[in-house]
């Protein structure tokens, strides 16, 4: 926990426990949560703490094995074949062509081949990839080995610490969830958010950063009736704090909130819904 904080990441105890267990039990850790609560950040920080290298696989719709695992460098192979055509026979050429220098290593394979102390493998937004890819991943996460027909099996020298993140645009299959430990990343409570904002935007005065976190916390606690389409995450708080610094703000007032609302909310409806609430959200803060 302290090592997390030393690099400017403030996890709650639940998250720290989950990370510890993932390491101790050698299981991948699946993080879910609203956008902007620091899921991806965790992997980066974890790599920094354990001084492992971070290998990131960004998932997207239509991601294929050859983009995630490995691919032969066909063009280079072709050139080599042409050049060698005159002197050598087919068998020799074949042997030469399937060498590791013609193999383009993609993140999943690189994670296996990373020398000690191993890698932190971040499989980001896995919900974006399609289900066949998930099935393939299942096999990979179970064994941490990959077989390349032309070369043989590659086994992990040092098992990577694997972090999967998902924004829940769709449910993941139960099979992959069974392989993983699961953690739901919540919005941080006020003290933790305050620490984060102060750490990230040290230029912001203590009083103002307190106001910022209080304002954001109240926003998130709005009753469901006038809830916004999307609550602001930590990323938004930090952005907002930076914006306030850029504007040389000394204190939050309705005017400045309104003119910077675009940083907190990215939807027209939400900005409009914020307007009548501003004075309510600010008023008790002054009383404190």
């Amino acid at each position: 926990m302290q090592s997390f904080e030393s690099v400017g990441y403030f996890p709650d105890r639940r998250l720290a426990t989950a990370v510890y267990l993932a390491q101790a039990l050698n299981r991948p850790l699946l993080l879910e949560g609203e956008p902007g609560v620091g899921k991806t950040e965790l992997a980066k920080v974890l790599a920094q703490i354990t001084s492992r290298s971070l290998i990131r696989l960004q998932c997207y719709d239509g991601l294929e094995q050859r983009e995630a695992l490995y691919e032969w460098n066909y063009a280079a192979q072709l050139i080599h074949m042409r050049a060698a055509q005159a002197e050598r026979n087919a068998e020799q050429i074949e042997q030469e062509v399937y060498q590791s220098k013609y193999l383009i290593r993609r993140p999943l394979l690189r994670a296996l081949e990373t020398p000690a102390p191993g890698a932190v493998l971040l499989i980001d937004e896995i919900d974006r990839a399609d289900e066949p890819f998930e099935a393939f991943l299942l096999e990979y996460l179970g064994e941490y080995q990959v077989s390349i027909p032309e070369m043989g099996t590659v086994r992990a020298q040092h098992q990577p610490i694997t972090i999967l993140t998902s924004n829940r645009t769709r449910d993941l299959s139960d099979a992959i969830k069974r392989r993983c430990l699961y953690h739901w990343v919540d919005y941080p409570e006020r003290d933790r958010e305050l620490a984060i904002v102060q750490n990230r935007v040290p230029e912001l005065s203590a009083q103002l950063s307190e106001q910022v976190t209080q304002f954001i916390e109240r926003l998130r606690l709005q009753p469901i009736a006038n809830a916004f389409t999307r609550s602001p995450g930590i990323a938004e708080s930090i952005e907002w704090a930076k914006a306030l610094v850029a504007l040389n703000t000394l204190e939050l007032d309705p005017e400045i909130v309104q003119s910077t609302a675009g940083v907190i909310f990215k939807q027209r409806d939400d900005v409009a819904a914020l307007e009548p609430l501003i004075s309510d959200l600010l008023a008790p803060a002054d009383a404190n």
């Binding site: 105890r13 066909y74 449910d171 069974r178 993983c180 953690h183 469901i224």
Partner: protein, 399 residues
């Protein structure tokens, strides 16, 4: 020996009891998970309750939906040793004993069944008890409930039926989207892949890869009547649709005397939570019906929901309208022209001789492309089938 003393070796037993309670609440927990849970207990230790809780949560929970239930069950199982205090409080007449915390229905159900952790008795009576529990939902009951009208169920039956309704799948019709996907049975050549492969093979074309248009489910617009006559059906349909259309693009509105957008509540994962929020959102639950005025509100403020004549509109109502009929006429005309299919789900179809005679019902019958029954579980299952047939039929002529 103290109660709850870890040295007595009850812990493994208790853990299994906890796991079974979670399973009863619907969490997918198998034996290997339990082993993992025990391992993690040993790793984390028992000094800190919150650490233990975090550890068990990381291992046993795998869906956001289940977190609430987990929290409540954990608190119920691994209580502070405050029970003694509570008992003391009960002895004192002037002091009110703290009441049991309010739990969500799922957690309550899981706790209501006998907790096996207390099983110090021989095994046999316990298994008998469990069999009795299963028997509560025998085949004949299921058959009866399948065909029972929602309005005629007792409170407990209604609860059970509502649970059952959540399990009914509802595959929605699909349409051809703009984007393409590779497919062996496609109807056009995949030129990109063809050239790619030819390039690899030194310019030889050995196969002709095909592609076709991707299929996407139709966007769904649900309008639920929450007036007095529809109260029970509305609640049940909301629960059913919430689960059945979980992964689809949907927008939900309730109407009685006014229009209430429910999409915020539908973002909740847990159906019970969704219903709670819905209750809080709808100001006129169980009131009158003014379909015309509500639809006009929809037309003015939310018409972007039905853009492109692609939406499947489900209107759930009995058509007993007390509002202005010419207004309703105009609005229904507009809505049915904007939608791909305009389906009227009518609970009154339970009567064999039903004919839409009331003013509102006549108009609904005129403009809807289909009228389907939704008064019992059986009809809900047929609904799924009827909706799939929607796109295979040609679009009806508009009057």
């Amino acid at each position: 020996m103290q109660l709850g003393d870890a040295r007595t070796g009850k812990l493994a037993n208790n853990m299994i009891g906890f796991g079974r309670a979670l399973r009863r609440a619907g969490l997918p927990i198998d034996a290997s998970r339990m082993v993992l849970a025990q391992q993690s207990c040993v790793l984390v230790g028992f000094d800190q309750r919150r650490d233990l809780k975090a550890a068990l949560e990381a291992v046993l929970v795998s869906r956001h939906t289940d977190r609430l239930v987990f929290n409540e069950l954990f608190d119920a199982f691994f209580r502070n040793p405050d029970i003694a205090k509570q008992l003391m409080a009960q002895l004192l007449p002037q002091h009110k004993a703290p009441t049991e915390p309010k739990r969500s229905p799922r957690a309550q159900e899981a706790l209501a069944a006998p907790p096996p952790a207390q099983a110090n008795k021989p095994n046999e009576p316990q298994t008998e008890e469990e069999i009795k529990l299963d028997a509560a939902m025998s085949a004949s009951t299921q058959h009866r409930l399948r065909h029972a009208d929602f309005d005629q169920l007792s409170a407990s039956e209604f609860k059970l039926v509502e649970r059952l309704a959540r399990e009914i799948p509802l595959p929605l019709p699909k349409f051809k989207a703009r984007r393409l996907m590779p497919s062996a049975r496609g109807d056009r050549l995949n030129w990109g892949r063809l050239l790619n492969e030819a390039g690899r093979l030194d310019g030889e074309v050995l196969s002709l890869p095909k592609q076709r248009r991707r299929l996407q489910p139709l966007p769904l617009l649900i309008l639920v009547d929450v007036s007095g006559s529809m109260e029970r059906y509305a609640r049940l349909m909301l629960a059913f649709l919430h689960q059945a259309t979980r992964h689809l693009k949907r927008s939900v509105y309730a109407f009685g005397t006014q229009l209430t957008p429910l999409s915020v509540a539908f973002e909740q994962d847990d159906t019970d939570q969704m219903l709670l929020h819905t209750n809080a959102l709808i100001a006129d639950f169980g009131g009158g019906t003014q379909i015309g005025a509500s639809l006009e509100d929809f037309h003015q403020n939310f018409r972007n929901e039905v853009i492109g004549r692609r939406t499947l509109v489900l209107i759930i109502s009995d058509g007993l309208d007390t509002g202005d009929l010419s207004q309703l006429n105009n609005q229904l005309n507009w809505l049915s022209k904007q939608s791909k299919q305009f389906v009227w789900l009518n609970p009154l179809l339970r009567y064999d001789q039903y004919a839409p005679l009331a003013g509102g019902a006549q108009l609904l019958a005129k403009y809807s492309h289909q009228m389907l029954a939704i008064h019992n579980l059986d009809s809900l299952e047929k609904l799924a089938q009827a909706l799939v047939n929607v796109t295979s039929k040609p679009l009806p002529e508009h009057k």
